[in-house]
Symmetry: C2
Subunit: 285 residues, 2 copies
Amino acid sequence: MTAAQGPAVRADLRRLSLNQKTTSSWSLAEAVDGCVRAGLESIGVWREPLADLGVEKASALISDAGLRVSSLCRGGFLTGEGPTAQGAAFEENVRAIEEAAALGTDCLVMVVGGLPEGSRDLPGARGRVAEGIARLAPIAADHGVRLALEPMHPIFTADRGVLATLGEALDLAEQFPPEQVAVVVDTFHVWWDPQVEEQIERAAGRIASFQVCDWITPLPADSLLSRGMMGDGHIDFTRLLGLVTAAGYTGDIEVEIFNAEVWAQDPDEVLATMKERYHRCVLGL
Amino acid sequence: MTAAQGPAVRADLRRLSLNQKTTSSWSLAEAVDGCVRAGLESIGVWREPLADLGVEKASALISDAGLRVSSLCRGGFLTGEGPTAQGAAFEENVRAIEEAAALGTDCLVMVVGGLPEGSRDLPGARGRVAEGIARLAPIAADHGVRLALEPMHPIFTADRGVLATLGEALDLAEQFPPEQVAVVVDTFHVWWDPQVEEQIERAAGRIASFQVCDWITPLPADSLLSRGMMGDGHIDFTRLLGLVTAAGYTGDIEVEIFNAEVWAQDPDEVLATMKERYHRCVLGL
C-alpha cells in the first residue's frame, strides 16, 4: 500500500462494522482484537457471546480498544401465546435493553419471532408483536435505546420473523416516536422488495442500522446460513446504500453473514475479504 | 362411503384440479387416467409432458376423459437481455399461447424469469417483463387466452421470477384489460405478504388461477422442491380461499406441489391424500 492510498482507505473504513456473526468462531474478545487489527472502529455485538464475558467486562474491553458498538443483536421473539410466554419475552427484552444501554449503543435489533408451534394465525402473531413493542418502547426510551425492528425476508416469516417487509415494519414503528422505535435495513431481507425505494425514503429518521450481505444462488441447504459475502450474489449494494443515504442515514454499515463456508475460513481472512468487498461492492470504489 | 356422503363429497371435488407437477412421475396420459380414477374433473397441464404427447393428441385425450384444463404452465422467462434473447422468448410464448388455446384453457401461467446471469439490475429485469407482456397481451387476446402473471415468493426473485408480490403483479396487469392480463394467486407465493388481504381484494376480476400448497419448515435443502402438501405446514388455506372467494373467484383450485418426498410416493396415494387435505385444510370441512 502506498502512502497516498493509506489515508483514503482508512477514511473509507470509518463506517464499516463487523457484526460478530460474520466471524462466528471468534469470542467477543477475539473479535474485538480482530477489528483492531483490521483497522475497524465499530462492532455489532450478539447477546450470547456477551453473556459469556459479562456485560461490564465486555463494555470495558470494547471501549478500551477504541471501538464503538454499532448494534446489539438481538431482542424480540414476541409472538408467543399466553401470559407466561409473553411475560418471559418481556423480561428478556428488558434485559436486552439494559445490555444495549450498558454497551453504549442506542440500537437494539429486534427479530420479532415466527409463528408459534402449530399455529397458522399470522395476523394474530403480528398483533402480539405490536402489543409487545408497545409495552417495551417506553422502557427502551428510558434507557436511551431504540427498538430497531428488523423486517425479515419472507423465507423466515414462518419461523423467525413475521414482519416481512420494510413497509410493514414502518407501519408499526410509526405508531411510536422515532427515538423509541426504528427499523433495520438489511440488504438480504429487503433487496427483492418492489417497494424498496419508496419504503426506504419513508424510513427517513427511523433507520437505526444498515446491514449488508448478499443473496446467493443456489441457496445453501440450510436457509438460516444462506447469506453470502458481498459480491458473491445478486444484490446491488451501491443502489441500496444510495437509497439509505438519500434518506439521511449516516451511521455504520454492518456486515452480517451467516454462512457455513465463511465461518470455516480464517476470520482474519474473512475481515480482509470483507474490507475489499465493502470498498468495491458497497461503496462502489 | 355411505350413499348420503357420496353426492356431497362428489360435489366438493368439482373445483379441485391436479396440477401435473404434483404427480411428476406420471406422463400426461397417466395423469389423465389418475384424475378420472380419483373423480377429479380438471387438470393443470405442463408444456414439457404436453410436447411429449403432442398438443392435438393431448387435447383429444383430456376432453375424451371428460376433464377440463384449468391452466397451462407455463409461459414467461421474459428477463433476458438483448434482441436475440427477447425474440426467442417472444416466439416461445406465442407457441405457449397457441397451445393454451388448443387445449381449451384461457389461463397461461406466466413465470416471468429471474435476473440474467451476472446481472444485479432488478429494476431493469422488471422493466423487460413489462415490455414483454405488452408485446404478448394482444396476441394472447386474439387466441382467447389470458396471461396469468404469477408473483413468486421472494425466495425465487433472483433465479425464477422478479415479480415478487401480488401488488407488483397487479401494478403490471392493470395496464391491460382484465381479459388479457390477469394474476395467479398461489398460496405458497403470497401467504406471508402483509398486504395479502388488500391485494386479493384489488385483484377482483383478474384472478385467473388459485393454486394451493403449503410452506413447510425446515425448508427442504433444494428450495425449488420446498412445497408441501396442504396441512403439513404453516399456511391458513381457508383464510386465503375466503379472500379469493370474496374477490369473486369461482374457478378451479389447483394443487401444485414440487417436493421430492411427494414425488417418491405412489401417485394414486398422493391424489387420495390431496383430496382428503383439500376437504379438511382448504374447504375447512
